[in-house]
Symmetry: C2
Subunit: 217 residues, 2 copies
DNA sequence: TGTACATCAGTGAACGCGCGTTCACTGATGTAC
DNA sequence: TGTACATCAGTGAACGCGCGTTCACTGATGTAC
């Protein structure tokens, strides 16, 4: 039973080429935007003919779906790691910094998840499952923070609209905080990643941590 | 001197066609995303041949630049109107609601300004001028709010990095607030417009106003 | 170990498509005398 | 008011390009006896 994941040399080679195709795809998206992804261009860059890629991906859409899946998985892993590395086990600050690091690593990957989606594209089921795992991690961290402020009107509204929490037992104050964390961090991050802060002069890390501090107060 | 803006029938017709081209362009972007804008497709939709559009726009890039310019101008007008309609003259809440209304009116237009830019595209000077007019309006509204909280570390940082305020005399606390308003509203709005809240169950207006209330406190 | 066969990666030609853009042109509209 | 000319909107053909995708094929690699 001590077999490696990819047994035969052929399988090893196959996953290797698949990986390289995806790497080139990310490079291409980083250089020219998500919609500029071209199978032929990837093939040329790898020194292969265009049709060769069809041995590895059924279609262009198939490749994109796989990239999205990888992006979600990567973020879920990052969150899981940040959680397990922190002492308290559910550390919102650790999550936030992990998110920022992950996003800066590859902005295009961040936008593939949280940016404007391709019109008409619908994510497959397993992807939405990973998405709710990510949300669950965030909810854990928010539930761990004691909330002394009185319940907000929006938190009351969430009490009756918590299906997105997918059964998570967090109190509605934590639900509110989770959404706020999400939208605020996304606000700072997406503007920064899109380059809207360039030339403004201030330090974007300080804006990010200012927002985070406000969130933790 | 009582001449109309477009004098001759030919000029009138000309601006009319230009306007229709832009309208179709917006429709097309709304349907298939910003990068899907195609001159030939617009022409076909208008019952004209492709090359005919070159009477009205020098190139595809030229048309896009004009759309961006119009988007900025439209937002600046909306802000100006919201400011002049409110009693105090600089009402942050009025600005926020005006922004949300404007964004929902045409999400694609919002993303053309605040979304991920086309890589390599650089906005012309007059556009950045309108952008800083928008920022100035926001700064006015923020400066009108008395700030009783102690100065934040980030506000202190902004004291030394205020070139983006373009000479606006607002105190650094107002600068901080302006940036916070921008990033937080963008966080909620962009996620909502991109459809990331669909199916989650809660009312996105309430999340928006909750964020706004927090901003005004 | 050698031979026969199956598997499978990759090629090159081809298809149809839509794109942005140019060019020489037709025909209608406006202008000057 | 009529005629000669200039302006200009719009057409159709054409160029070159890159795209996704299919197909029949070659040749190398692995498998079974």
């Amino acid at each position: 039973m001590a077999e490696t994941r990819t047994r035969t040399p052929r399988e090893r080679y196959r996953t290797q080429v698949r990986t390289e195709i995806k790497e080139r795809a990310w490079e291409q998206m980083a250089a020219a935007g998500a919609s500029a992804l071209s199978l032929n261009a990837i093939a040329k860059q790898m020194g292969m003919s265009g049709p060769a890629l069809y041995r590895y991906f059924a279609s262009r859409d198939d490749l994109i779906t796989e990239l999205i899946r990888d992006a979600y998985r990567s973020l879920a892993d990052t969150f899981r790691r940040a959680t397990s590395e922190s002492e308290s086990g559910a550390d919102l600050a650790a999550l936030a910094h992990a998110l920022r690091g992950w996003a800066l690593e590859d902005p295009q990957r961040y936008f593939l998840i949280y940016g404007t989606p391709v019109p008409g594209y619908h994510a497959p089921d397993d992807v939405t499952a990973i998405a709710s795992e990510i949300m669950a991690t965030l909810l854990d961290a928010c539930a761990a923070i004691p909330s002394d402020t009185p319940v907000t009107p929006f938190a009351a509204h969430l009490e009756d609209h918590r299906q997105w929490a997918d059964g998570h037992p967090a109190p509605s104050a934590a639900l509110h905080r989770a959404l706020t964390v999400w939208t605020r961090l996304h606000g700072v991050l997406s503007l920064e990643l899109a380059g809207h802060f360039t030339g403004m002069g201030f330090d974007s890390v300080q804006l990010f941590t200012a927002e985070l501090d406000d969130l933790l107060a």
